[in-house]
Amino acid sequence: MDDFIPVKIHPSLFYSSQKGYKKINFSDYNVSFIDSTKKRCHTLIKKDILVNAFKQASPIIFGYVPIGFAYGVLSQEAGLSMQNTMIMSLIVFAGSSQFIAVGLFPAGITPVSIIITTFIVNLRHALMSASLSPIVKTWNKTEIAAFAFEITDETFAVHSLRYNEVENIDNNHLKIEMLLINLIAQCSWVLGSWLGCSMGQLISNVKAYGLDFALPAMFIALIIMQVNNLLQVVLLIFAGIISTSLLISGIDQWNVILATIVCATIGACVEKWIKK
């Protein structure tokens, strides 16, 4: 009993069903039981959130690292400095517009035109941002601002699954999880960009591993997980048809936005009509 230090006995010690607490041999510990348990609780919670965030972000990682790599390579070929390449990935963080931009820079297009093109290409994120607003309704302004920075097609797709889970994400843990997913996504993109610009010479065969199918596969899975009634199925097929038709007719910047606006309007009207 020499190494046994008296500790405060917490009543919850006796409730072994409580999360985070388990039966502990007093003699194993020579720190305050409360402190060590608190620490274990914190570690348990943080690890859970981190693991969950990684699980959900993993398809994004599969997509972003190779595509970021491709971007890094192209950017070097276009003549951008490594700093500019990385800065774009850090502060713009929008794959398609980054690809388009590095194509436009060497072609002698004016900076203003490049900025306007970027604006139009990324405008669909405004729709996604609006669509996510019910989910982050209860967050404070700073958290919303931080969250909004990393709204991309892929992070949006993952977050929009939350509609089916809860009405409003009030829980602090889920909030941290969502912000973590965003962070992991951006880190993957930045990592891919860095790998691309520093190792561009060793262009690995992305296609051999099916990595170019990662993002389409993710979209397929997300669509299937989200639809739960016939109306949505009909609408999504319609949206796909409209978008593809527009693209074939040459409307390549607006096809997604127009298809979405048309189908969302039809959907909302049908729902209202049904409810009458």
């Binding site: 994120h125 899975a221 669509i223 999504l236 949206a239």
Partner: protein, 109 residues
């Protein structure tokens, strides 16, 4: 090409990218939105995803082409969709899809 000009352009790009992302969610979160709009917004995810997905599945080189030789994505999307439906797992479906593509490309080559 002047890297300084590129840098300034990038700053401009960042602004026109961030502001459309920030304003909608910022404005709409602090107001009560009529239920029609909420319902409208709920259809946005599936529509957007489908609008982005279908072109990449059906089109190759700016034309619709779903022959097996030219467009593997379209055909692999069918088993991938089935797996997604059965397992409801994001990671699993993506992995399965990538595996199908890798295996078929390996076998065909």
């Amino acid at each position: 090409m002047d890297q300084k000009i590129i840098f300034l352009t990038i700053i401009g790009m960042a602004l026109v990218t961030y502001i459309p992302r920030l304003l909608p969610v910022m404005w709409l979160s602090s107001r009560d939105i009529p239920s029609f709009i909420v319902s409208w917004l709920r259809f946005v995810p599936t529509s957007v995803l489908a609008a982005m997905l279908f072109p990449s599945l059906f089109m190759v080189d700016n034309k619709i082409d779903i022959t097996f030789n030219n467009n593997l994505f379209f055909w692999v999307s069918i088993p991938t969709a089935l797996i997604a439906w059965k397992t409801k797992s994001l990671f699993g479906s993506v992995l399965a899809g990538m595996l199908f593509i890798a295996i078929i490309r390996f076998l065909v080559i």
